[in-house]
Protein backbone atom coordinates (compact mmCIF):
# COMPACT_ATOMS: atom_id res chain seq x y z
CA UNK A 1 0.00 0.00 0.00
CA UNK A 2 2.41 2.60 1.16
CA UNK A 3 5.18 0.96 -0.88
CA UNK A 4 3.07 1.22 -3.99
CA UNK A 5 2.34 4.89 -3.38
CA UNK A 6 5.98 5.65 -2.79
CA UNK A 7 7.14 3.90 -5.93
CA UNK A 8 4.47 5.78 -7.84
CA UNK A 9 5.87 9.06 -6.53
CA UNK A 10 9.40 7.94 -7.40
CA UNK A 11 8.80 7.84 -11.13
CA UNK A 12 11.55 9.57 -13.10
CA UNK A 13 14.19 9.30 -10.38
CA UNK A 14 17.72 8.27 -11.12
CA UNK A 15 19.10 4.77 -10.72
CA UNK A 16 17.86 2.54 -7.93
CA UNK A 17 15.82 5.35 -6.39
CA UNK A 18 12.96 4.62 -8.73
CA UNK A 19 12.93 0.85 -8.25
CA UNK A 20 14.16 -0.17 -4.82
CA UNK A 21 11.87 0.76 -1.96
CA UNK A 22 14.54 1.44 0.65
CA UNK A 23 16.29 3.99 -1.51
CA UNK A 24 13.11 5.30 -3.05
CA UNK A 25 11.61 5.98 0.35
CA UNK A 26 14.47 8.34 1.28
CA UNK A 27 14.46 10.10 -2.06
CA UNK A 28 10.71 10.53 -2.07
CA UNK A 29 10.76 12.00 1.43
CA UNK A 30 13.37 14.48 0.29
CA UNK A 31 11.44 15.26 -2.85
CA UNK A 32 8.31 16.02 -0.88
CA UNK A 33 10.30 18.28 1.46
CA UNK A 34 11.74 20.12 -1.54
CA UNK A 35 8.32 20.53 -3.08
CA UNK A 36 6.95 21.95 0.19
CA UNK A 37 9.77 24.45 0.36
CA UNK A 38 9.62 25.31 -3.32
CA UNK A 39 5.88 26.02 -3.35
CA UNK A 40 6.87 29.00 -1.18
CA UNK A 41 10.05 29.73 -3.15
CA UNK A 42 8.18 29.75 -6.44
CA UNK A 43 6.31 32.89 -5.42
CA UNK A 44 9.61 34.64 -4.68
CA UNK A 45 11.29 33.40 -7.85
CA UNK A 46 8.43 34.44 -10.11
CA UNK A 47 8.36 37.94 -8.64
CA UNK A 48 12.11 38.24 -9.12
CA UNK A 49 11.72 37.13 -12.73
CA UNK A 50 8.96 39.67 -13.34
CA UNK A 51 11.16 42.42 -11.96
CA UNK A 52 14.05 41.40 -14.22
CA UNK A 53 11.71 41.38 -17.20
CA UNK A 54 10.31 44.82 -16.36
CA UNK A 55 13.85 46.12 -15.85
CA UNK A 56 14.90 44.89 -19.28
CA UNK A 57 11.80 46.37 -20.88
CA UNK A 58 12.16 49.80 -19.30
CA UNK A 59 15.90 50.01 -19.97
CA UNK A 60 15.13 49.66 -23.65
CA UNK A 61 13.39 53.02 -23.25
CA UNK A 62 16.10 54.58 -21.12
CA UNK A 63 14.53 54.26 -17.70
CA UNK A 64 15.61 51.85 -15.01
CA UNK A 65 13.31 49.72 -12.90
CA UNK A 66 13.59 51.75 -9.70
CA UNK A 67 12.70 55.09 -11.27
CA UNK A 68 9.94 53.43 -13.30
CA UNK A 69 8.21 51.95 -10.24
CA UNK A 70 8.63 55.22 -8.33
CA UNK A 71 6.90 57.08 -11.15
CA UNK A 72 4.07 54.56 -11.23
CA UNK A 73 3.56 54.78 -7.48
CA UNK A 74 3.43 58.55 -7.75
CA UNK A 75 0.70 58.33 -10.38
CA UNK A 76 -1.14 55.72 -8.27
CA UNK A 77 -1.05 53.10 -11.03
CA UNK A 78 -1.63 49.88 -9.14
CA UNK A 79 -0.65 47.39 -11.85
CA UNK A 80 1.33 44.62 -10.24
CA UNK A 81 4.67 43.33 -11.44
CA UNK A 82 3.18 40.20 -12.99
CA UNK A 83 0.93 42.21 -15.25
CA UNK A 84 3.65 44.75 -16.01
CA UNK A 85 6.05 42.04 -17.16
CA UNK A 86 3.36 40.47 -19.36
CA UNK A 87 2.63 43.87 -20.89
CA UNK A 88 6.32 44.48 -21.54
CA UNK A 89 6.54 41.14 -23.36
CA UNK A 90 3.32 41.09 -25.38
CA UNK A 91 2.14 44.70 -25.69
CA UNK A 92 5.27 46.78 -26.31
CA UNK A 93 3.48 49.97 -27.34
CA UNK A 94 1.26 49.99 -24.28
CA UNK A 95 4.35 49.46 -22.20
CA UNK A 96 6.02 52.42 -23.82
CA UNK A 97 2.98 54.51 -22.89
CA UNK A 98 3.41 53.40 -19.26
CA UNK A 99 7.11 54.28 -19.34
CA UNK A 100 6.26 57.74 -20.65
CA UNK A 101 3.70 58.26 -17.90
CA UNK A 102 6.27 57.23 -15.31
CA UNK A 103 8.95 59.44 -16.84
CA UNK A 104 6.64 62.46 -16.70
CA UNK A 105 5.80 61.76 -13.08
CA UNK A 106 9.37 61.13 -11.97
CA UNK A 107 12.07 62.33 -14.39
CA UNK A 108 14.94 60.93 -12.33
CA UNK A 109 17.11 61.91 -9.45
CA UNK A 110 18.86 65.20 -10.30
CA UNK A 111 20.87 65.19 -7.08
CA UNK A 112 22.77 62.01 -7.84
CA UNK A 113 26.48 62.32 -7.13
CA UNK A 114 28.61 60.42 -9.62
CA UNK A 115 31.66 58.72 -8.09
CA UNK A 116 34.77 60.75 -8.90
CA UNK A 117 37.49 59.07 -10.87
CA UNK A 118 40.70 58.47 -9.00
CA UNK A 119 42.68 60.11 -11.81
CA UNK A 120 40.72 63.34 -11.38
CA UNK A 121 41.54 63.72 -7.71
CA UNK A 122 44.73 65.68 -7.43
CA UNK A 123 47.29 64.63 -4.86
CA UNK A 124 48.70 67.42 -2.75
CA UNK A 125 52.42 66.96 -2.36
Amino acid sequence: MNKKEILKLAKGFRGRAKNCIRIARERVEKALQYSYRDRRNKKRDMRSLWIQSINAGTRQHGVNYGNFMHGLMKENIQLNRKVLSEISMHEPYSFKALVDISRNAFPGNKNVVLPTRKADVSINV
Partner: protein, 219 residues
Protein backbone atom coordinates in the same frame (compact mmCIF):
# COMPACT_ATOMS: atom_id res chain seq x y z
CA UNK B 1 -6.01 54.73 -15.45
CA UNK B 2 -6.83 51.05 -15.96
CA UNK B 3 -9.45 51.86 -18.57
CA UNK B 4 -6.99 54.12 -20.38
CA UNK B 5 -4.45 51.32 -20.44
CA UNK B 6 -7.00 48.79 -21.72
CA UNK B 7 -8.03 51.08 -24.51
CA UNK B 8 -4.46 51.84 -25.51
CA UNK B 9 -3.64 48.14 -25.54
CA UNK B 10 -6.52 47.34 -27.88
CA UNK B 11 -5.47 50.15 -30.18
CA UNK B 12 -1.85 49.15 -30.09
CA UNK B 13 -2.30 45.41 -30.41
CA UNK B 14 -4.01 45.87 -33.73
CA UNK B 15 -0.99 47.81 -34.98
CA UNK B 16 1.44 45.33 -33.45
CA UNK B 17 2.22 43.76 -36.77
CA UNK B 18 3.44 46.98 -38.41
CA UNK B 19 7.14 47.48 -38.80
CA UNK B 20 8.92 48.92 -35.79
CA UNK B 21 12.30 47.32 -35.92
CA UNK B 22 13.60 47.52 -32.38
CA UNK B 23 10.32 46.86 -30.61
CA UNK B 24 9.30 44.00 -32.85
CA UNK B 25 11.97 41.77 -31.37
CA UNK B 26 10.24 41.69 -27.99
CA UNK B 27 7.09 40.06 -29.37
CA UNK B 28 7.29 36.27 -29.37
CA UNK B 29 6.25 34.77 -32.66
CA UNK B 30 2.74 33.53 -33.41
CA UNK B 31 0.88 35.56 -30.80
CA UNK B 32 -2.71 36.26 -31.75
CA UNK B 33 -5.52 37.50 -29.58
CA UNK B 34 -7.78 35.03 -27.82
CA UNK B 35 -11.00 34.29 -29.70
CA UNK B 36 -13.82 33.23 -27.44
CA UNK B 37 -15.89 31.34 -29.99
CA UNK B 38 -15.67 28.69 -32.69
CA UNK B 39 -17.29 29.61 -35.99
CA UNK B 40 -20.07 27.17 -36.71
CA UNK B 41 -19.09 26.84 -40.36
CA UNK B 42 -15.86 25.03 -39.50
CA UNK B 43 -17.71 22.36 -37.50
CA UNK B 44 -20.07 21.52 -40.32
CA UNK B 45 -21.56 18.11 -41.04
CA UNK B 46 -19.15 15.32 -42.06
CA UNK B 47 -19.03 14.79 -45.78
CA UNK B 48 -19.67 18.43 -46.68
CA UNK B 49 -16.89 20.55 -48.09
CA UNK B 50 -14.98 22.53 -45.48
CA UNK B 51 -14.14 26.09 -46.42
CA UNK B 52 -10.40 26.23 -47.05
CA UNK B 53 -9.97 29.77 -45.72
CA UNK B 54 -10.85 28.80 -42.15
CA UNK B 55 -8.33 26.60 -40.37
CA UNK B 56 -8.15 26.73 -36.61
CA UNK B 57 -5.67 24.85 -34.49
CA UNK B 58 -5.09 24.82 -30.75
CA UNK B 59 -2.18 27.16 -31.20
CA UNK B 60 -4.35 30.06 -32.36
CA UNK B 61 -6.32 30.09 -29.11
CA UNK B 62 -3.48 30.15 -26.60
CA UNK B 63 -4.52 32.30 -23.65
CA UNK B 64 -1.51 34.49 -22.95
CA UNK B 65 -3.02 36.46 -20.12
CA UNK B 66 -4.00 33.64 -17.76
CA UNK B 67 -1.03 31.32 -18.30
CA UNK B 68 2.65 31.86 -17.57
CA UNK B 69 4.55 32.44 -20.78
CA UNK B 70 7.45 30.12 -21.41
CA UNK B 71 9.44 30.27 -24.63
CA UNK B 72 8.64 27.64 -27.22
CA UNK B 73 11.23 26.21 -29.55
CA UNK B 74 10.35 28.69 -32.27
CA UNK B 75 11.06 31.61 -29.91
CA UNK B 76 14.76 30.86 -29.71
CA UNK B 77 15.91 29.50 -33.06
CA UNK B 78 19.65 29.98 -33.36
CA UNK B 79 19.56 31.01 -36.99
CA UNK B 80 17.20 33.89 -36.31
CA UNK B 81 19.08 35.47 -33.43
CA UNK B 82 20.67 38.89 -33.61
CA UNK B 83 24.37 39.19 -34.27
CA UNK B 84 26.26 42.14 -32.77
CA UNK B 85 29.76 43.33 -33.57
CA UNK B 86 31.88 45.50 -31.31
CA UNK B 87 35.33 47.00 -31.80
CA UNK B 88 37.44 46.53 -28.68
CA UNK B 89 39.98 49.24 -29.52
CA UNK B 90 40.73 51.29 -26.39
CA UNK B 91 37.76 50.00 -24.46
CA UNK B 92 38.03 49.19 -20.78
CA UNK B 93 38.11 45.42 -20.47
CA UNK B 94 35.66 44.85 -17.62
CA UNK B 95 33.04 47.34 -18.74
CA UNK B 96 33.07 45.93 -22.26
CA UNK B 97 32.85 42.35 -21.00
CA UNK B 98 29.91 43.25 -18.78
CA UNK B 99 27.89 44.67 -21.67
CA UNK B 100 28.79 41.72 -23.90
CA UNK B 101 27.71 39.18 -21.31
CA UNK B 102 24.39 40.96 -20.77
CA UNK B 103 23.62 40.73 -24.47
CA UNK B 104 24.76 37.13 -24.79
CA UNK B 105 22.63 36.05 -21.86
CA UNK B 106 19.58 37.93 -23.09
CA UNK B 107 19.06 40.03 -19.99
CA UNK B 108 18.35 43.10 -22.09
CA UNK B 109 15.19 41.48 -23.50
CA UNK B 110 11.82 41.59 -21.78
CA UNK B 111 11.38 37.91 -22.68
CA UNK B 112 14.41 36.93 -20.56
CA UNK B 113 14.18 33.36 -19.26
CA UNK B 114 17.04 32.05 -17.11
CA UNK B 115 16.68 28.45 -18.26
CA UNK B 116 16.59 29.12 -21.99
CA UNK B 117 19.18 30.60 -24.31
CA UNK B 118 17.40 33.71 -25.58
CA UNK B 119 20.47 35.88 -26.08
CA UNK B 120 22.30 37.15 -29.13
CA UNK B 121 25.66 36.40 -30.72
CA UNK B 122 28.48 38.90 -30.20
CA UNK B 123 31.58 39.33 -32.36
CA UNK B 124 34.57 41.18 -30.90
CA UNK B 125 37.22 42.49 -33.29
CA UNK B 126 40.57 44.14 -32.59
CA UNK B 127 40.84 42.10 -29.41
CA UNK B 128 44.52 42.85 -28.99
CA UNK B 129 43.82 46.57 -28.54
CA UNK B 130 41.61 46.25 -25.47
CA UNK B 131 42.89 48.36 -22.59
CA UNK B 132 42.84 48.37 -18.81
CA UNK B 133 43.21 51.26 -16.41
CA UNK B 134 45.90 51.85 -13.86
CA UNK B 135 48.88 49.54 -13.61
CA UNK B 136 46.93 46.42 -14.55
CA UNK B 137 48.78 46.08 -17.79
CA UNK B 138 51.87 44.91 -15.92
CA UNK B 139 50.31 43.81 -12.64
CA UNK B 140 47.16 41.84 -13.54
CA UNK B 141 47.93 38.14 -13.35
CA UNK B 142 46.32 35.32 -15.28
CA UNK B 143 46.77 31.99 -13.55
CA UNK B 144 46.14 28.46 -14.67
CA UNK B 145 46.97 25.13 -13.10
CA UNK B 146 47.82 21.96 -14.93
CA UNK B 147 46.56 19.72 -12.11
CA UNK B 148 49.98 18.36 -11.15
CA UNK B 149 51.82 19.56 -8.04
CA UNK B 150 53.86 22.65 -8.76
CA UNK B 151 51.98 23.14 -11.99
CA UNK B 152 50.71 26.67 -11.50
CA UNK B 153 51.48 28.89 -14.47
CA UNK B 154 51.23 32.64 -14.04
CA UNK B 155 51.51 35.33 -16.65
CA UNK B 156 50.78 39.01 -16.72
CA UNK B 157 48.25 40.86 -18.86
CA UNK B 158 51.07 42.06 -21.12
CA UNK B 159 52.50 38.63 -21.73
CA UNK B 160 49.09 37.09 -22.45
CA UNK B 161 48.29 39.91 -24.84
CA UNK B 162 51.48 39.16 -26.76
CA UNK B 163 50.77 35.43 -26.80
CA UNK B 164 47.01 34.92 -27.28
CA UNK B 165 45.11 38.23 -27.14
CA UNK B 166 41.70 36.66 -27.68
CA UNK B 167 41.96 34.79 -24.43
CA UNK B 168 41.84 38.02 -22.38
CA UNK B 169 38.35 38.95 -23.53
CA UNK B 170 37.19 35.34 -23.44
CA UNK B 171 38.39 34.99 -19.84
CA UNK B 172 36.64 38.18 -18.82
CA UNK B 173 33.32 37.30 -20.46
CA UNK B 174 33.38 33.70 -19.25
CA UNK B 175 33.69 34.94 -15.69
CA UNK B 176 30.53 37.03 -16.15
CA UNK B 177 28.37 34.34 -17.75
CA UNK B 178 26.56 31.80 -15.56
CA UNK B 179 28.54 28.68 -14.71
CA UNK B 180 26.84 25.50 -15.76
CA UNK B 181 25.68 23.71 -18.84
CA UNK B 182 23.74 26.68 -20.18
CA UNK B 183 26.63 29.03 -19.38
CA UNK B 184 29.05 26.92 -21.36
CA UNK B 185 26.64 26.89 -24.27
CA UNK B 186 26.27 30.67 -24.05
CA UNK B 187 30.03 31.08 -24.13
CA UNK B 188 30.06 29.58 -27.60
CA UNK B 189 28.03 32.54 -28.79
CA UNK B 190 31.00 34.85 -28.23
CA UNK B 191 33.38 35.16 -31.18
CA UNK B 192 36.63 37.04 -30.57
CA UNK B 193 39.05 37.96 -33.34
CA UNK B 194 42.49 39.52 -33.38
CA UNK B 195 42.41 41.93 -36.29
CA UNK B 196 39.67 44.14 -37.68
CA UNK B 197 38.13 41.38 -39.83
CA UNK B 198 35.69 38.67 -38.98
CA UNK B 199 34.27 35.87 -41.15
CA UNK B 200 30.64 36.49 -40.15
CA UNK B 201 29.57 39.02 -42.79
CA UNK B 202 26.81 36.66 -43.89
CA UNK B 203 25.07 37.08 -40.53
CA UNK B 204 24.95 40.87 -41.08
CA UNK B 205 26.00 41.88 -37.57
CA UNK B 206 24.89 45.23 -36.22
CA UNK B 207 26.71 47.59 -33.89
CA UNK B 208 26.50 46.58 -30.21
CA UNK B 209 24.74 49.35 -28.27
CA UNK B 210 26.86 50.15 -25.21
CA UNK B 211 25.16 52.34 -22.60
CA UNK B 212 28.13 52.55 -20.26
CA UNK B 213 29.54 56.07 -20.42
CA UNK B 214 32.98 55.13 -19.10
CA UNK B 215 33.81 52.22 -21.39
CA UNK B 216 36.12 54.21 -23.67
CA UNK B 217 39.60 54.76 -22.33
CA UNK B 218 40.31 58.45 -21.83
CA UNK B 219 43.56 59.51 -23.42
Amino acid sequence: MAILCASTSTIFSSSERTSFGSLKKTIPSNQSSFLGFFPVAALSKPGSVRPTTLSFSKRDFRDIWNNTWYPKAKDHINTEKTWYVVDATDKILGRLASTISVHIRGKNLATYTPSVDMGAFVIVVNAEKVSVSGKKRTQKLYRRHSGRPGGMKVETFNQLQQRIPERIIEHAVRGMLPKGRLGRALFNHLKVYKGPDHPHDAQKPIELPIRDKRVQKQR
